[in-house]
């Protein structure tokens, strides 16, 4: 079938949110890992920050990224009328 302008817009928005969340993922994984030694100079909740992020902080952010993505795209589906109705 031919996709409408609305459909293309939906996909664009999906790509944008994917890119943003991927950026955050990259930041708390690789940038954080690269500077772990430097971050350890900071103390957070009694932990050295570099250790805290790798052991707990980044993990919690991963959970949040996925949770937000599911919530946001679910809303987007309805807005652009590509949702699955009752099943969703």
């Amino acid at each position: 079938m031919e996709l409408s302008q609305r459909h293309h817009e939906y996909w664009r928005k999906n790509l944008v949110i994917t890119a943003i969340l991927l950026g955050i993922w990259f930041l708390v994984t690789f940038v954080e890992g690269w500077y772990a030694r430097e971050l350890n100079a900071v103390t957070f909740l009694g932990f050295p920050l570099g250790f805290y992020m790798s052991a707990q902080g980044s993990l919690a952010i991963y959970v949040a990224i996925i949770g937000f993505y599911a919530w946001y795209t679910g809303k987007l589906d309805k807005e652009y009328n590509v949702d699955e109705g009752d099943l969703g």
């Binding site: 772990a36 050295p48 790798s54 993990l59 599911a70 795209t73 969703g88």
Partner: protein
């Protein structure tokens, strides 16, 4: 299926599993009371082993099916929450449950590469794969490759890659099953393997994905209770609150202070000097072994003669005679001893700081350690997002939205264990630094005395400087000890140790279930039905799959019984291979319409080849067999071969696709079809029933 109500099903499931959890807790309490009344440890072990395996088999029997859609994808009605739990159990293997905390205990910060890699990978699953695979809605991962890129070549490569990484992984699981059953019940390793395998087969054979799913949910509940219970207790002991995950920062600081104390303690330095001297003299001896052997023997004989001549006390003479008798029989034996002593150099090194990332003797060594950390994170993440037994789970939800939500629940349930493991490592270290170090050899803590006697590979304490007091340098710990001994360290009754064993068993069995099913499905569905006999009846397809399960399981058990080398490397290799082979074609298949058949075929082969090539040329197992050895690229270890394989695979797909003609309109419509959860007026039907 119109009369089927998803919400009613969901609430029914919640009721069942609440009853089940209550029942399991009641079972625990009953056993705890029985222990107080004198039930033996062996019988507690048996009770856990047989009760849980009977339970899993029971769920298998209740969920038996011969229907294709039930068998392959559990009827596509697994609610997000429960699919999350099942994925959690599917995901967390014996290595996660038993090995992870130990790795963190031994490696400190650098072990966190696995914690990050094995959780962050789910971001990639959520953003790039799960919703689109669910919309595509077939049965296996090669299905997607076959439909998107067309033809049997790509499907065949997919089958080979899926079977290779799943098989490597399943061997590690069956090994874990054998280890746990033999340790906690005293059954022989081989028998342990077959008891466990029996449980796996009854379940997956009778009900396929449907039975495996509901069993995995049950297994998750057991494994998380088993992991958290002892940690909560140990946390209460050292931090005073029942959720030590949030409060162990203070404990970590104390560990840091104790590390400093250990590194400057004169007694510790004395022990480390003993190791250094031994290693040095071994190195010197190895330069001219023949002479050193003769000299050493002559010196020992001379000492006996001298003592006798000087009329020394009898006990000194006996000791010298003993030393002479214990002297290696020949040069080869002496050489073996010296090579062992050479390794003591490692124990002469000061304690590494637990929280300190990337230790190394200079800036260059620290940089290489950093690259290797990030390399492992990279491979574990992309491997997670490419392992077929995990991706397959997202075919089983009722809808695309449920698939997205179920990735969230998956990671949430995995997170519960993975953010506890680093905490457990720190608590265990603190406990050992305070209660074990400095204690008298005559009055070791009860758990240490017991474990050192049971298994010296897990715990070995020897009084090297003969002062009767334990120095940290005198303790050797095997990683698996941490989880296995935590209940005793925390001072809990034996029933909790049985619970931990049951948890480890649940972790190993659930992962093995998912993997075996993946392999059998690749053979029966992708190879037999899609390529050899497309007219096969549904009954025949399911029967073939069930028979293949037995064949694959027995083959895997046989390979396990050969005890192939380094399990951790095998697991790492499976991730690197999966990342290099599957990630590029799957993701480009959804996000880039222009990706075509030849791009995918050559890209998959290129990614896999680079990955295999790097491992073959750098991993000692292969280079010792005669493969010419080469230098590491950027100092990256063979486990991280995916760092090279994945980008090359990706690049090759792009270049080759652009050089060949664009995919046809039908394929482009399929891509559009998977991008939208529900396209009104869409005439592409990809979902199999």
């Amino acid at each position: 299926m119109s009369s089927f109500s998803h919400s009613a099903f969901n609430s029914q499931l919640k009721k069942y599993y609440s009853f089940y959890t209550g029942g399991f807790l009641l079972f625990l309490v009953t056993l705890a009371i029985a222990e107080q009344m004198g039930m033996s440890r062996q019988w507690i072990g048996y009770s856990f082993l047989f009760a849980t395996i009977a339970l899993y088999a029971g769920i298998g029997i209740m969920s038996r099916t011969a229907e294709v859609s039930e068998y392959y994808v559990a009827g596509r009605r697994v609610p997000a929450f429960f699919n999350g739990m099942a994925t959690g159990a599917d995901w967390m293997s014996a290595a996660s449950f038993i090995g992870m905390a130990g790795t963190l205990f031994l490696a400190g910060f650098d072990g966190l590469a696995f914690v990050m890699g094995w959780t962050g990978g789910y971001c990639l699953v959520a953003l790039f794969l799960a919703p689109y695979l669910r919309k595509f809605g077939q049965f296996t991962i090669p299905d997607f490759l076959g439909a998107r890129y067309g033809g049997n070549i790509i499907r065949t490569i997919g089958i080979i890659a899926a079977i290779t990484c799943s098989f490597v992984y399943v061997v590690a699981q069956i090994y874990g099953v054998g280890l746990i059953t033999s340790r906690f019940t005293g059954l022989e390793f081989g028998i342990g393997v077959f008891v466990g395998l029996g449980g796996i087969l009854v379940c997956s054979m009778l009900g396929g994905m449907k039975a495996v799913t509901w069993t995995q949910v049950a297994q998750y509940i057991i494994l998380i209770i088993a992991y958290l219970t002892p940690v909560v207790w140990l946390g209460m002991k050292h931090t005073g609150i029942p959720v030590p995950q949030f409060a162990y920062g203070i404990t970590l600081q104390k560990v840091g202070e104790l590390e400093k104390k250990i590194n400057s303690d004169p007694k510790e330095l004395e022990v480390r000097k003993i190791f250094k001297d031994r290693a040095d003299s071994a190195n010197a001896a190895l330069k001219d072994p023949a002479k050193a052997y003769a000299d050493g023997q002559a010196a020992a004989a001379k000492r006996v003669a001298d003592l006798k001549a000087a009329n020394a006390p009898a006990d000194q003479v006996t000791a010298a005679e003993k030393a002479l008798a214990a002297y290696p029989k020949d040069e080869a034996a002496a050489k073996a001893q010296w090579n062992k002593d050479k390794g003591l150099a490692a124990r002469a090194a000061p304690v590494r700081s637990h929280a300190d990332p990337y230790p190394g003797k200079d800036e260059a060594a620290r940089f290489t350690a950093k690259l290797n950390f990030l390399g492992i994170v990279f491979c574990m993440m992309f491997g997670t997002a490419a392992l077929p037994h995990i991706l397959m789970r997202y075919y089983t939800t009722p809808s695309v939205q449920q698939a997205r939500v179920s990735v969230f629940w998956s990671l949430f349930f995995i997170f519960l264990l993975y953010f506890t493991a680093p905490c457990l490592a720190v608590l265990a270290k603190y406990d050992m630094f305070t209660n074990l170090v400095g204690s008298q050899f005559a009055t070791l803590p009860a758990w240490a005395a017991a474990w050192a006697k049971v298994d010296p590979t897990l715990l070995n304490i020897t009084d090297f400087n003969k002062d009767g007091i334990v120095q940290w340098a005198e303790v050797v710990i095997g990683g698996d000890l941490i989880v296995l001994a935590t209940p005793e360290i925390a001072g809990l009754p034996y029933v909790v140790s049985g619970l931990v064993a049951a948890g480890g068993l649940a972790a190993a069995l659930s992962t093995a279930d998912g993997l075996l099913l993946t392999i059998a499905n690749a053979l029966s569905h992708d190879l037999y039905y899609k390529m050899i006999d497309p007219s096969a009846s549904t009954a025949k397809r399911v029967t073939i799959s069930k028979s293949l399960l037995i064949v694959v399981a027995i083959t895997a058990a046989y390979v396990t019984s050969l005890k192939p080398g380094d399990i951790l490397f095998l697991v790492g290799a499976a991730f690197s291979l999966a990342a290099s082979a599957f990630f590029p074609p799957l993701v480009l298949g959804v996000f880039w319409k222009r990706a075509n058949k030849w791009g995918a075929i050559i890209g998959m082969i290129a990614g896999l080849s680079v990955c295999v090539y790097y491992m073959m040329r750098t991993y000692p197992f292969f280079t010792n067999m005669g493969v010419p050895k080469m230098d590491l690229w950027f100092g990256l270890n063979p486990i991280s071969a995916g760092v090279f394989g994945l980008p090359i695979g990706l690049l090759t797909i792009v270049v080759v696709s652009l050089l060949t003609k664009a995919p046809d309109k039908e394929t482009q419509e399929l891509v559009e079809h998977v991008r939208y959860p529900h396209l009104r007026g869409d005439n592409v039907v990809s979902e199999a029933t």
